[in-house]
Symmetry: C2
Subunit: 226 residues, 2 copies
């Protein structure tokens, strides 16, 4: 048997005519295929805009399988939503805990947000919109939220305030300052392009500019000179 690994992840097995080998194609589990397809569609269209048939079509699966594996559209959504929320926050918390100085950390946070908004442009508006529409159903026992208050960043902030190198700002004030300025222009990407007459390339340049302004502005404000 000759095996050629291909670029796109497929494995092609050429079996000799007189071989008694059998090939078991271990394809992705149906459950996972559905969940990934649903994630894509939910992110793009939101819960209300997504139909069971949209998901089945995207996953290339029979319409009944969503309910076979996940019991209902709602249950599937809640599973996916929890994953997305955890991803979003774990990412943030792990940067807040990095052993670097506070200026670098602010820069890292902003760079990370910038990267995320480019790679997953639907993610933040999706989270915000779904929570805004129905705040209660989407917060089960997500205790990992409280982690932020015990991150290294929080400790660094308090120390800096204590020894007079940082301005007296609460953690809940400074983090939104860091996150909002970059995320906002991506949240309203189409509006901004329209208002200021920017092409895709021009927007990208503009977003880069904005990123640097935000870094400078926040550090200017937070870090006290002499």
């Amino acid at each position: 048997m000759i095996i050629n690994q291909q670029k796109n992840g497929l494995i092609i097995c050429r079996i000799l005519p007189n071989s008694d080998l059998k090939v078991k194609c271990v394809t992705e589990k149906s459950e996972d295929k559905i969940k990934e397809a649903a994630r894509r569609i939910f992110l793009k269209k939101g819960f209300d805009g997504t139909t069971s048939r949209d998901i089945a079509r995207e996953a290339d699966m029979n319409i009944a399988l969503t309910n076979y594996y996940f019991r209902s559209k709602e249950k599937l959504f809640l599973e996916i939503f929890k994953d997305i929320l955890e991803l979003y926050f774990q990412n943030m918390v792990s940067i807040l805990n990095k052993p670097v100085d506070i200026k670098t950390k602010i820069s890292d946070m902003i760079e990370n947000d910038f990267k995320m908004m480019n790679e997953e442009p639907d993610l933040v508006i999706f989270i915000m919109n779904e929570i805004h529409k129905e705040p209660e159903r989407l917060f089960p026992d997500l205790t990992f939220f409280k982690q932020i208050r015990s991150t290294l960043f929080c400790k660094q902030l308090n120390e800096g305030i204590a020894n007079g190198t940082l301005r007296q700002v609460h953690i809940e004030n400074i983090i939104p300052l860091i996150k909002s300025c970059v995320e906002f222009i991506f949240l309203g990407k189409h509006i901004h392009k329209k208002i200021y007459g920017m092409s895709e390339e021009e927007f990208n340049r503009y977003a880069q500019e904005q990123k640097e302004h935000v870094k400078a502005m926040i550090c200017n404000y937070l870090i006290l000179e002499g």
Copy 2:
């Protein structure tokens, strides 16, 4: 006839028994009732989450009337969406044109955003989400967008940059800085309350704090000290 104007806008007319006067009760036009009801529901649930029956129920009108007056749910939505976009932008442009110094104007912008987010908490997330989902259908001939580039604020910014009192920042960079920090914490109001364990009152205090930080931070950055 004795007329008493009431607090809630109702007018009560008491007609004397032997009077030959007739009272014509000019109630709100059905078309307007539907549009206003639709506006409320669309803002709360979004286009996909709103059904024709939701609108009819909210307006207390027959289900067929929406299509009688507006031809379709889509047409009604587009009309309302255009109104909302214009309201949002005209409000902003009129502040940008106010004959006050740039520091006051930044403060006014932030105060206005703060007020708006409190009074119409669904407005900004609604605009962003609907445009994000379907950018093309929602921009017909909205040329009023370009107004921003010719506001007094823009002129003041360029003058300040020219005479060295202001940092060299493009208009498209500074306006999102002003708007994002306040709007963002309201966009994610429920998330922020959850993360930092805030009650409604605590959130309001926190939002006030944030507002003042943002004012100071932006002015610090933009306005260069002698």
